[in-house]
């Protein structure tokens, strides 16, 4: 993977490197409630990107002075395992991971009813086991499912996906190579029914029209991911609750 020259990202037929069209998602796999020791958990696989999320709590906030009298605090840790990338990632939290933890936490805070659990803390752990672009969006998708699995009341689920711009074309769900050699990368996180944007970042350059087009494309992708989220939850809970 030591490419120094920019590869052709979109061929003559409009296909991408992995054979997708510009508006296609990678193969998506979502599972809920897979980690036994956590209160809620989820696994999201988007192509080669693989992410686990786990939720612990609500529990008592420690240290105690951090507790807020009228609502819960949400702690979030986004972390990439050292074997998740081509080049071994150094141990511990890098600047990038600290930033993404904050971004994911703020997205989740906007949907969770924190005021239902005064003086407590909810811990969210997002662990990337394999990274191939779009880990923060996959992480956010997984984290919101894990919160729902933990039974924590929330306004809505969150689904997230990135859009990018490569070779002048707006594409959905860019992979690592497309992200590296493309002109722009824009992760979008939304609540699927009320269409509220909870996360939006943009790296690179896009015109106003491209931005609009990208947002619409992301919205379409988010609806697809939301369907998969629903199915995953129904699969987990439907089996045990066929009839009561």
């Amino acid at each position: 993977m030591t490419q120094t020259t920019k590869p052709k990202l979109i061929d003559e037929n409009g296909r991408r490197l992995d054979g997708r069209g510009p508006t296609d998602l990678r193969s998506l796999k979502i599972e809920v409630g897979i980690l036994e020791k956590s209160d809620g958990s989820a696994y999201v696989e988007l192509g080669k990107t693989k992410v686990y999320a786990a939720v612990y709590g609500p529990k008592e906030a420690h240290p105690k002075h951090l507790a807020i009298p009228d609502r819960a605090i949400l702690n979030c840790r986004y972390h990439m395992t050292s074997f998740s990338t081509d080049e071994r990632k150094i141990l511990g939290m890098t600047r990038r991971e600290v930033e993404l933890s904050k971004v994911i936490r703020e997205a989740l805070e906007s949907v969770v009813f924190l005021e239902e659990f005064p003086r407590s803390a909810i811990d969210v752990f997002v662990e990337v086991v394999q990274a191939d672009g779009g880990t923060r969006t996959a992480g956010l998708t997984a984290a919101s499912l894990a919160l729902a699995d933990a039974g924590i009341p929330m306004r809505e689920l969150i689904a997230a996906v990135a859009v990018g711009k490569v070779d002048g074309t707006i594409i959905l769900d860019p992979s690592d190579i497309e992200d590296k050699y493309g002109e722009a990368d824009m992760p979008v996180g939304m609540t699927p029914s009320s269409n509220t944007i909870v996360l939006l970042q943009l790296n690179g350059k896009m015109t106003k029209d491209e931005f609009k087009q990208g947002l619409e494309l992301a919205q379409a992708g988010i609806q697809k991911i939301y369907q998969a989220q629903r199915e995953a939850i129904r699969r987990k809970y439907g089996a045990s609750t066929t009839e009561v």
Partner: protein, 229 residues
């Protein structure tokens, strides 16, 4: 009054349930006069209210709940009690004499009524229902499954009590005390509780539990390898 779900359907957070905000029950929230689900659960209508029955989730203390807790600290103003919840409860005492008369140590298990729960924290009541538990096996189950363990008018719990001969105390917070005449009967009751927790929403559970408990009490060896109690 339109309803947007099928009875007993599994709903997700954010799913529209009804247009009538007056019908919002537990597990729901209201925005713009519409009722949405706030947790994953089974949607149902109870007493004219739209409710979502949680499948899993933390215990939220409410005034009037009878809970079982573990004493975690003793302070001049009262006794701190762990409820297996996100917050510890406080059992307030009037004076040092009263505190002494309670004769509680850290690690003791008590049974008490929740007096209030809110921004001031969770307070327990020191009334005639208050009890210090001196013997038995302490089990914990998911708090959302407590109603199923008790059954309609106590049918499930009474059946287990009758067959095993154990006395069983259930706290709304998911703590259960089993106290029986022999280890076999205690084991049978504990196994039955675990079975109910595993298969909360299956049909004919009472009959299944009855058969299971009868077999265990009968002395037949049916050791459940999944059971770590």
């Amino acid at each position: 009054m339109p309803i947007y779900f099928n009875e007993r359907e599994i709903v997700l957070p954010g799913q529209l349930l009804s247009d009538d905000s007056r019908r919002a029950g537990e597990g729901t929230y209201v925005t713009n006069g519409k009722v949405f689900a706030s947790t994953v659960g089974i949607a149902t209508i109870r007493d004219g209210k739209v409710e979502v029955i949680m499948l899993k989730g933390p215990y939220r203390p409410m005034a009037g709940d009878m809970v079982i807790g573990i004493v975690s600290d003793i302070k001049p103003i009262g006794v701190e009690v762990e409820l297996g919840s996100y917050v510890t409860a406080l059992l307030k005492v009037k004076n040092a004499k009263e505190l002494l008369s309670l004769n509680l140590k850290i690690g003791d298990v008590i049974y008490a009524r929740v007096a209030s729960s809110g921004l001031k924290g969770v307070l327990l009541e020191l009334n005639e229902q208050f009890k210090k538990i001196t013997e038995g096996v302490l089990l914990t189950i998911t708090p959302t499954k407590v109603p199923r363990l008790i059954g309609k008018k106590g049918s499930m719990i009474n059946m287990i009590k009758k067959i095993t001969g154990c006395s069983i105390m259930v706290g709304t917070n998911g703590f259960v005390i089993v106290n029986g005449p022999s280890p076999t009967s205690e084991f049978a009751a504990a196994s039955a509780i675990r079975l109910i927790e595993r298969e909360t929403h299956s049909q004919g559970l009472t009959d299944k539990v009855m058969a299971y408990v009868s077999r265990l009490v009968g002395g037949e060896v049916a050791y459940d390898t999944n059971d770590k109690t």
